[in-house]
């Protein structure tokens, strides 16, 4: 009985800590992106609120919370209210399975660092990212506006297309580990990270993840110069804020997952206590790459996006599954 209570308490504490840290990081991710993007465009970026603009996220939150919450006349009330929650909620829930550090011994218990070490962690992640599509599609549908609907349709088509190659790019990782648990996947990369075994998979995963997070060059659902703001055109105040937070938490989560699957997760040189640092450092690098990509690439056209997804990325991901499977058989790679 006390055992169960202790486990529950630990899970709740871990969840709360992760929630707070992720939300804060998401806010500062926005600032980091605005700063870096500005520097790439020879500007300064936000530097007025606080030293180096460090209080800008706080000011943004205050602004968003105090803004009027507008419900469009044609909107489908209930769905309109739920949609932002689905986007932010699914993204935050994904973080539950990410191991963000080495196991720590507390009071004689070896506490695993993901909130819950699910034995179907990979499937859980794929399922939640599929559910996230509902947030976009329903937001577009319920707004009762043409732009939102177009954005929602584009968003769902895009995310469903790119989910396939994303799922397929993780298959080699699962094959090599022989487990769906993210902790096992990290443990399996103790000596060699999977990016060495399956570099193609890593590239395909990065590309599809960029499409999944609906950012430039894949920001067609929002495409501000065609669709105003796409599926969140009609949202204002904190409801818009939820979409916004969702997008940036998504970047953090997907960066964390990219390094968990391919770059050895929290593993790195030095003692186990450095694992949190390694996890943060590696994720930050991938997150920087996303910002870098946003500063570099133009938006794809819709048909190019579909063409690239179905006729190039999906066959490539399938080929990678065959290739890695063949090599693993041939050289006897079996890491677990």
């Amino acid at each position: 009985m006390t055992e169960t209570v202790a486990i529950m308490a630990i899970i709740i504490v871990k969840a709360a800590v992760i929630l707070i840290i992720t939300l804060t990081l998401a806010a500062y991710m926005v600032l980091a992106e605005r700063k870096l993007l500005a520097r790439m465009q020879s500007r300064f970026g936000p530097n007025r609120v606080g030293p180096f603009g460090l209080l800008q996220p706080l000011a943004d939150v205050i602004k968003l919370v105090t803004k009027e919450d507008i419900l469009p006349k044609e909107a489908d009330r209930a769905i309109f209210f739920i949609a932002p929650g689905i986007v932010a909620g699914t993204v935050l829930l994904t973080f539950a399975v990410v191991p963000f550090g080495a196991p720590v011994a507390i009071c004689g218990h070896l506490v695993q660092m993901p909130v819950i070490d699910l034995n179907v962690g990979v499937l859980y992640f794929l399922a939640l990212s599929s559910l996230g599509v509902y947030g976009v599609a329903l937001a577009g549908w319920s707004s009762g506006s043409k732009y939102s609907l177009l954005g929602g349709i584009r968003g769902s088509a895009q995310m469903i297309s790119y989910e396939l190659s994303m799922g397929l790019s993780i298959v080699p990782v699962v094959m090599l580990t022989g487990s769906f648990s993210l902790s096992d996947i990290v443990a399996a990369q103790h000596s060699v990270p999977f990016i060495v075994y399956s570099p193609l998979g890593f590239i395909v995963f990065l590309i599809s993840v960029a499409a999944e997070s609906k950012r430039i060059p894949y920001d067609l659902p929002e495409a501000e110069n065609e669709l105003v703001a796409g599926y969140h055109t009609e949202y204002s105040g904190m409801r818009f804020g939820l979409f916004y937070i969702g997008e940036y938490v998504n970047i953090i989560v997907l960066s964390a997952l990219a390094i968990t699957f391919f770059c050895g997760g929290w593993q790195g040189p030095g003692p186990d206590s450095l694992s949190f640092f390694w996890f943060f450092f590696k994720s930050a690098f991938i997150a920087f790459f996303f910002i870098w990509m946003r500063g570099t690439l133009p938006r794809l056209r819709y048909d190019q996006l579909m063409h690239f997804g179905w006729k190039f990325l999906l066959p490539l991901a399938l080929f990678n599954v065959l290739l890695t499977a063949g090599l693993a058989l041939g050289f006897g790679w079996r890491v677990h």
Partner: protein, 175 residues
């Protein structure tokens, strides 16, 4: 395929390089750009060397103004018949700072100055009356007084200025 990859790498390299360069932004309230000598911003009405206002209320600036932001009322002074504006008003919320009023002015009265920091919280505060527009100096044309070269007898009698002909005999045949 090779071109695509090379192009991608070049693009990423360019943005990365750009990130380590100093931004070109001039951070305005702390630092100001040196203005060009003939910068045109807030409009003033100047005075002549004798300390009288130069404006003769000819309406040329008001007529040439593309956004119709200048309005005035002309009167003649009781003592010597000098024309002047009884009131003179510029609506700076409409003004586009084009400087055409300055070009049209025959007496160098209306001039544009390099003062650009005259924002207001209330749009009605942007309407400047004659008292707000008048300055004590002579602006860009020191020493010029219209009535020492032309006009009705304010300084000298009509046609008696040194660089002026006498009145033309309108009934004569001679050119």
């Amino acid at each position: 395929m090779k071109d695509v990859l090379l192009g991608l790498m070049e693009a990423f390299w360019t943005t990365l390089k750009e990130m380590f360069r100093k931004p070109v932004t001039i951070e305005y309230p702390e630092r100001r750009r040196p203005l060009p000598e003939r910068a045109r911003w807030r409009i003033v009405l100047t005075k002549d060397p004798d300390g009288e206002e130069r404006c003769v209320a000819c309406y040329l600036c008001s007529a040439v103004c593309p956004v119709s932001c200048i309005s005035m009322q002309s009167i003649e002074r009781e003592t010597d018949g000098r024309r002047m504006a009884s009131w003179f008003r510029i609506n700076f919320s409409r003004c586009i700072l084009c400087g055409m009023c300055e070009e049209a002015c025959p007496t160098y009265a209306i001039q544009l100055t390099p003062d650009y920091e005259f924002c207001k919280y209330d749009v009605l505060d942007m309407v400047y009356e004659k008292e707000d527009l008048l300055v004590d100096g002579q602006g860009k044309y020191p020493g010029y007084n219209f009535y020492r070269h032309s006009g009705v007898g304010v300084v000298n009698q009509k046609g008696q200025n040194p660089d002026e002909y006498g009145p033309v005999d309108i009934r004569g045949n001679m050119p």
